[in-house]
Amino acid sequence: MDFAFTAEEEGFADAVRRFLRDHPPSDFPADGMDAGYGSGANSKAFLRALAVQGWISMGWPPAFGGAGRPMFFKLVLMEELARAGAPFGPLAGVWQTADAIIEYGSERLRAELLPLIARGEASFWQGYSEPDAGSDLLALKTEAKRAGDHYVLRGHKIWSSHAGIATHGLVFARTSREARRSRGFSMFVVPNGTPGMDIRPITSLTGEVYHYEVFLDEVRVPEGLRLGPEGEGFVALLNGLDSDRFWGRFYKAPALERTLRRLVDHANTTRVDGVPLARDPGLRRRLAAMATELAALRWLFYRAACLLRDGAPVTYETAVAKVLADETGQKLARLGMDLLGLWGPLRAGSREARLDGEISHAYLTSLGHTIAGGTAEILRTTVATRGLGLPAGPRHN
């Protein structure tokens, strides 16, 4: 066993910290709201700054313009960025899309998109959910009909994060009617602005826009923008879900640790009747327990990381880690609200707001985390059936 980073990984962490000192995160304007996952706001300028360092493509094979760096460099980068509260919002999605294009993308996708991604000029929204296909993704109705060397897409997607400020959508659509429910789906990379695509914002409970719904009306997509073999989209999607859950939540523990450090400072410096809040036995114990839970969460993710790195079987590990990340985030937000008392619900920018209004924002955004990307219920079922071998429940075909 070994619970430390290698000298190379430590050296890279130093380089990232130097970069963050030279490029303070607060200097970068936000293009889209921080949804609270730990990857900060969506900032195009910050994504480009990462690209200048070569860090977006560092894990790609040299044949695709990458530096062939090992997976743990990506973890080190994300951990340092999250610890500093940097706005690297789209990075995880960008990495995953690039990996899929390298693994089974068409020549056209490789030639057109990889250079764009490497320069930090591409980001992606997921067109998976639909109004009647949430947890039951396979109930989706969006269709892609072959028309010569094109497909014609028609449908209605929803809950697509930052779709309005991204460059491309990853649209999951039915390409044929098959007897088996999981067959006949394909994935398409559709540039924003393609005629027939109508992207409309949904105002969230924070008052800001994070999600969009996307109407697809006779959207023509060239065959070369299909990602993976026709009809095999669901297999690719399922394979991607483990890494999706992992990469979408890996940075949550270091980000929550940052929030906890702010709460500890607040508890030390805020006095009630002359006594620091830090000495309140109940709050003190909750803060210490939270630090402990965050350490457990971090190791859970690193264990999954080692399995993914080593190509070992992953059945339940990323599912259990995602659920814990999201429920721990909710618990920390609750603790923060309790600690701030009447100041808790004040918005960022309000007079008297504490900790930059970060806690009230986290309180609201964290509500969505156990829903997005697989609800906590769906994932617990995954742990039980795929991980523990308990019988799968009834399905309706």
Binding site: A288, A291, T292, A296, W299, L300, Y302, T381, V383
Partner: protein, 362 residues
Amino acid sequence: MDFRPSPAQQLLVATARDYLRRHCPIELVQRLALDGRNFDDKLWRGMAELGWPGLLVPGDYGGSDGSLLDVILLVEALGYASVPGPYVASAVAATSLLLGASAAQQERLLPALASGDRIATLALVEEAGSFDPAAVTLACDGAGRLTGRKLFVKDAHVADDLIVVLRDGAALLAADRRGIARLPLETISGEPLFEVTFDAVEVGADDRLTLRGDALGAALRAGALARTAEMVGAAQRILELTVEHARTRVQGGRPIGGHQAIQHACADLVRDVDCSRGLLYAAAWRASEAMPAEREVAMAKAYAGEACLAVARRAHQIFGAISYCEEHPLHLIHKRIQAASLDFGDPALHLETVARAIGLEA
């Protein structure tokens, strides 16, 4: 970073699992828990023949130069089998303390502990009910005599030596020395705990241990880690028993594990076991690498003390009525976790260590 035990550690664990499957079945655990002594000479001798009591001890003193991490992996296997006995008290905590004693004392005391011929236990806790050494008040009078008592001393009935923590150090006293009495406390788990009283017990200069600076702290951390490992092993066993039950118990024409309410409860068992184990291994690794590990050990013990206990309690609900019976093994494993969560510091004590480590003003 690597979560896999080394080949030597895998061999140690596989050997232990196999030996304990054959020599410590749950029926033996059950019988020993009921017989009042909760100790099996034959099992202890068998463990000694495998060299387990000497795992932490240097080769020069009859041990096998193992690391704390090796010991933790072994104790996890002991916990999985719910092995009763003084292994943690003697081979982990007392041995760790003696590893911080003078060379002469190590040479005199460690070989008999390593061979399992002698058993030692730590007498620390007093009326305050705390494993914090700062709470210790017991001390010899001006004439070098000890009068007072210690509480919750584990395995005192089978111990040859008591290591008595005093306000100004520690003394190793034969358990049958004149003036010492061992009075059993009756526990729900059958875990042998004792009140030990001292009535003008003579403590000579030779009885006093010459300890290096943080020897007591290191021994308490080793004990806390070992009881954490025991909880993790026990919780893993509960997880496996419970999932097997959920898979095979049929009600209403289908296995109860087909119901989401049961599935989700089982998913939470996995979460609690995996998180407890991650913190345990990370802390044990740090301690084995001689890195500062106070915070990590405290986190591991505090977390497992809550999470593994939650595993046991949730398992009763999943098992239903059968787990309320004495003949069913769940309550035994549950009670073991319950006892281990308190030994070497309860979650509250360890969370206070964490609170200070994260910078909360005291």
